[in-house]
């Protein structure tokens, strides 16, 4: 797993570890939210598609957190990182822990994240760290399909009935303040960017704006005005929701310490 690479030697392992947690926690928490829908979606095809997306995201989590554990070098596995950290140690975007709401809100959250995820993974395919480039290569194939689907549904529902339009606009307005965090640079980002490991998040904003703007206009939805943006997830300061996600997710590992499953 942890073969030494050029980037490995040059990059501060703490910065790298933080970065990998962000990637893995994003996919883990969003995968968790999507699996809450299981059996409750508005159409059978949607149940299947959501489970498939969740499955992709959990698979990606195993890769990102597995590498995070290796980089940290303290013998923690992907499972240890997923099931035995408390909320303040999680590094996911606040967007991904937002409650599901109605199906429209779930789809809008998915689209806003997929658009970022897709662009970011594409950039990571060129990472100087081959381990990261490899995971990004595999994940980006899955995520381009996620984006194709969520983008298409946002368009169709935005331009559907008055009710579906209203629900999608409401979802967009509610979630918009959680999109800014995707493009905020942390101190460690400069280190990673300098070493060619990962691009600085702020650099993706123009492309994301274009992709999202074009989709929203096709969906006849109004892009909210730039306003205050929520932040904190990347530094471990979360919303109240994450604690409940973890209480659910980590229940067995916490209730039966040391047991293997």
């Amino acid at each position: 797993m942890a073969e030494a690479t050029v980037a490995d030697a040059a990059v501060d392992p703490t910065a790298l570890f933080e970065f990998l947690l962000r990637m893995g926690d994003n996919t883990l928490i969003l995968g968790h939210r999507l699996s809450e829908w299981c059996g409750h979606a508005p159409a059978l095809e949607e149940d299947i598609a959501l489970a498939n997306t969740a499955l992709d995201l959990i698979g990606q989590t195993q890769l990102w957190l597995g590498l995070a554990g290796a980089v940290e070098g303290k013998g923690r596995s992907a499972d240890d990182l997923a099931f035995l950290r408390d909320a303040c140690e999680f590094r996911n975007l606040l967007l991904n822990e937002r409650p599901n709401g109605d199906f429209g809100k779930t789809l809008m959250r998915q689209f806003l994240f997929d658009a970022w995820h897709h662009l970011f993974l594409n950039a990571l395919r060129l990472s100087s760290d081959t381990r990261i480039a490899e995971i990004a290569g595999k994940a980006s194939k899955e995520v381009s399909y996620h984006l194709e689907r969520s983008r298409d549904l946002v368009i169709r529902l935005g331009d559907g009935t008055a009710e579906s339009h209203g629900r999608m606009q409401g979802a967009l307005d509610d979630l918009w303040p959680y999109t800014g965090e995707m493009f905020m640079n942390e101190a460690s980002d400069a280190v990673l960017a300098a070493a060619g490991v990962a691009p600085e998040p702020a650099g993706l904003k123009t492309e994301w704006d274009a992709l999202v703007g074009e989709t929203l206009s096709e969906a006849t939805l109004k892009e909210p005005a730039e306003g205050y943006m929520q932040k904190g997830g990347k530094r471990g300061i979360h919303t109240e929701h994450l604690g409940y996600i973890l209480a659910d997710m980590q229940f067995l590992q916490r209730a039966y310490p040391g047991a293997t499953w």
């Binding site: 409750h40 159409a43 499955l55 992907a78 199906f103 997710m249």
Partner: protein
């Protein structure tokens, strides 16, 4: 099974001599092992019975997502979570193939949903029991998918082509599910005493409901006789139950578990196990809607459908607008 006690509308099974020429040639083709395909003539009773059986099976796959979905967010490892997600996704896929197979008989998926939501159509009694611990997820794979396989392997040879082909695809996946369920339990019985106790508790609760999946004895049932004549049922409920017990008891022993049946005993003479009678009163109460989770399961399905109406309407409206736009463009181009 996933389809329990399917009615055929037949007062009794006709002999070939009592049939009119069309029905007689239909029956002869079935007797020769030929497959019946959607566009071909079939007796109304055959069509209706198949619709009941296939839709009940489809509904069971869909409702069956709920008890297992109950543990996806709490799965103990990432690997187990991924396996369970894939399994539940398979079950939804089974529902989809089966609804498509039923649609070839002239009923729409929306009509079938309507029958499920109104309580007119049934789904398997087993999904009205709760999943209380992680061991229940193992027990469902091992016992419930195991019992489903027992019933579905012979249905691969069913006389109706689309159902038979759906079964062939489904059976492959069900055997994976069973192995994965067994694997969950293997890991747990080798674990801590608390984990082992959890597995025994799961077996205690799922054993009898699993035996009930095959339905009450149908040796005297005219519906079963008719279904067998039509080859949409191949074995009696008791035969399948016996096979299931004979297959499962050694597996329970391998896991170091005790089957919760004091009457269970190997019978050398018949080469199978003797076992106790499930509580059929409980079975009929569950079918009547009084099982521990009937209200939640059906309520969840009804709510999903009602809450999703705006979503489905939105997609339809968009498709209509697009069609109108295309028509408008074509008119403008002329």
């Amino acid at each position: 099974m996933y389809a329990q006690m399917v009615k055929t509308d037949a007062p009794r099974v006709k002999t070939l001599d009592e049939m009119d020429p069309q029905e007689r040639s239909f029956q002869e083709r079935i007797d020769q092992g030929q497959k019946i395909e959607p566009k071909e003539w079939m007796p109304e009773g055959y069509r209706k019975t198949l619709i009941r059986q296939i839709s009940q099976h489809a509904h069971s796959e869909i409702v069956g997502q709920l008890p297992e979905g109950n543990w996806i967010t709490r799965a103990p490892t990432l690997e187990r979570k991924a396996i369970l997600l894939a399994k539940v996704q398979d079950e939804a896929g089974h529902g989809l193939y089966l609804y498509c197979a039923a649609e070839t008989l002239g009923i729409s998926r929306d009509e079938m949903y309507e029958q499920l939501h109104s309580g007119k159509a049934k789904y398997s009694s087993i999904f009205n029991y709760p999943t209380l611990t992680w061991a229940d997820i193992g027990a469902i794979g091992w016992l419930v998918d195991g019992a489903a396989i027992m019933n579905q392997v012979p249905l691969q040879r069913c006389s109706y082509g689309p159902y038979s082909r759906a079964m062939i695809r489904i059976c492959k996946e069900e055997s994976f599910h069973q192995r994965q369920g067994f694997d969950i339990l293997m890991k747990m019985v080798k674990g801590t005493p608390a984990q082992k106790a959890m597995v025994q508790d799961a077996l205690n609760r799922w054993w009898w409901p699993s035996l009930m999946m095959f339905g009450p004895s149908d040796d005297a049932s005219v519906h079963s006789a008719q279904s067998m004549a039509w080859k949409i049922k191949q074995n009696s409920n008791d035969e399948l139950r016996q096979k299931f017990v004979d297959q499962t008891v050694p597996q329970a022993e391998y896991l170091g578990l005790t089957i919760p049946d004091p009457k269970l005993e190997w019978n050398e003479e018949k080469g199978g196990y003797d076992f106790g009678e499930p509580d059929w009163n409980e079975f009929f109460e569950v079918l009547a809607g009084n099982g521990p989770c009937n209200a939640e399961r059906l309520g969840a399905r009804r709510k999903a459908w009602a809450d999703g109406a705006w979503f489905r309407d939105g997609l339809t409206a968009y498709a209509e607008k697009q069609a109108a736009r295309r028509a408008g463009n074509e008119a403008a181009a002329e």
